[in-house]
Subunit: 225 residues, 4 copies
DNA sequence: AATGAATGAGCCTTCATTCAT
DNA sequence: GATGAATGAAGGCTCATTCAT
């Protein structure tokens, strides 16, 4: 009972997709190549053939998930660079949240599990992928604070914002995945996301402004709502 | 070469302590009872004997870690109830951070791993333990916002603060545990913690105030430093 | 369906014996722990438990086989040290041959396979075990040649004798094991061994004497260069 | 990126050569067709295609190695049939040794591994190839002993000589292959070979003469029975 | 003629658990 | 009360082989 040998890369793609899903659900160690291959409708030896090892598949599947996710949700949230810093911050926060919450994307579940129980296998890949995101955020905050991105206060604010994006959403993801099928639960969650992004943006802009040193005449027009 | 039968509970205590450490380092699934027993200098069968199963040991060791941690770091950070809400918030944030960062305590590593890869075993125990912490925080924020603790905005702010405590510190923990001995690396980290708590308090108070509806006379004295 | 836990070392002994037999028949790589355990009536995990790995079992089983074999066939063949050098040489050759040909002993089959396809695992064990055998032979030949055991000619003669013991007998072993049960085939083979030992002793003594330096009445017609 | 389809037999030749080398180094079971094909720069399916199976390739590669080796080293060592029996024996021994030690030739490594761990696949091929070698040696010894080649004593002497050729040289081969490049290490080994051949010839001629029946001028001090 | 892709069987190992002592 | 010994179920990986192209 052989599979059709369509174009030769189909199995590879199936494995990457299935691996992303299973690794996101179970983590590296608890995921079994048997389950991945069952879902990809491939033989267990196919992983050795295409990727060499479970470890290599893990790294590849994360890169794959991350790339796909970034294609769907550009870092700047589609806000033009001519918009105000506040609007661009809101755009970034919203884009990040949508990436995190998208049930199609598995990168953040994998990322989260890797943070909690590092295998060390993703260190390099994550480093390369996450750095630009952090840097873009730090640049924006630096603009708002009128300081260099490497400044300590900028870093602290960056951390505050990132944490507000990650924390609640990984919970939301789990709550969601614990339910049934995604189709019905998608829209309400996206609504939630916008509301949450509004809150985090407003909350954080206030926090940032409280640190702004020497502008006595600071305006109060916020973004959102 | 039997062990001394001191009081019969010594092995149990050793197992609880060792389990907390190992589960914190490796998570439930990846921790092996062999390693736990090796560290506790007990026989592998001792776990089945004392706790019935690996699962039961897991729950017990978390309760044990949590209880010990709460004894060391009271929820209110030692700030008297007569102090201002801002000071009490700072006290809570600092206490929470110190609990998280304490290398002696394993509850947060276990908690974090359980969030990332839920076994479901701790659901009830965590629920019971975390609820009062969240409630105390919500009460305080409600006081600052002049709203009920169950109000949506209060919940959002509570989330913002909790996330700022968890996010950076679990990273700090890992970075720390990756180094050498904890004793020498403790002080500088505690300094960091106070600095971080100051930032989060100031940042969040500003965020909270920005949501406060229509009180023109709001004061600006912040806490910290 | 548990095994009886008689004295706790029975399984270990069974495994050692079975391993010697299987490793001798199939070699390290082709032998499977499943087969060894089937023959020892033990679980496959028992090997990990008692020895840690297939590799460690291999080494242990060889030491076990070698020790048992040496107990049955002392190196000197039971010839008293007061006997003539010729008689003692004959004793050694016969003892070596009997050790090699004994169907109960597996050390030489393992040794032979290890020489042909080294795993490297037995290097140290074999070195330690074989050294005294070679040294004893070299001492004896040195006595016959009136030279030091480390002399080049002594070494060459030692090699000639050892090769004559090994070569034909490993063939004989295989021919024998290819047949059916050992009980009936044992005596005729032992007879063969004595005949063979006589031949090798006579043949080699003549070769040695031809090299003996200072006896003026020996003939010197040699071949080559 | 297909290979050039030169003449269609190039791949076959490459496979035979690579197989000889790999089988010699690892033995039949441990050699993998993946490694052989990698070295031959061919696809793994090529073996099934050209030879039908790993087994068939094994047999073919041995025949190939043996044929090539025999071309380089004629059985009689180039000694004319008019030379004395002693000289012809020396020639044969030297030729046999040179065949064994030649690092270019793999037949003896394969042969040795096959003796130690018979696959049964080479039985017929080896039988056919080795018979003439043994017969030639037996004829020569029969001439020296003035007996028929099938005589028991002739067979024993033949065995003694063959064993002295095989034993030390397979060791030498392994020692050599464990070193670095063969080119530089070749000359000193060939010197050793001649020295060794001299020893074996002299040693064995003495042994043979000691068995020569009724020539009144031979000495008779033997050992045994 | 030749190959990339895929397969299924088998191997060694790990692990939580359970007896008999 | 406590333990050494033993178990069986998986898990990841390797490998010779076989298709469809």
């Amino acid at each position: 009972m052989r599979k059709q040998r369509c174009d030769g890369q189909e199995t590879r793609q199936n494995l990457l997709a299935a691996a992303g899903e299973i690794f996101a659900r179970k983590g590296f160690r608890e995921a079994t190549i048997a389950e991945i291959c069952r879902q990809a409708e491939a033989n267990t030896a196919a992983i050795s053939y295409h990727f060499g090892s479970k470890e290599a598949l893990y790294v590849e599947s994360w890169r794959y998930s991350f790339t796909q996710s970034l294609k769907t949700y550009p870092l700047d949230g589609g806000i033009p660079t001519t918009a105000s810093a506040e609007e661009r911050l809101h755009g970034r926060i919203l884009a990040l949240m949508r990436r995190i919450i998208d049930p199609q994307s598995h990168e953040f579940d994998i990322f989260h599990k890797e943070m909690a129980s590092p295998t060390g296998l993703l260190a390099k890949a994550i480093q390369e992928s996450v750095e630009p995101i952090f840097m873009g955020l730090a640049l924006l905050i630096g603009e708002l604070l009128d300081k260099k991105p490497s400044d300590h206060e900028v870093q602290l604010c960056s951390m505050s914002i990132r944490a507000q994006c990650f924390g609640p959403l990984v919970h939301a993801r789990r709550r969601k995945s614990a339910e049934g099928l995604p189709p019905s639960g998608l829209e309400p969650l996206l609504e939630d996301v916008e509301q949450l992004a509004d809150h985090v943006t407003r909350f954080s802009l206030a926090g940032i402004r409280a640190l702004r040193p020497l502008h006595p005449h600071q305006s109060n027009n916020e973004v959102g709502s």
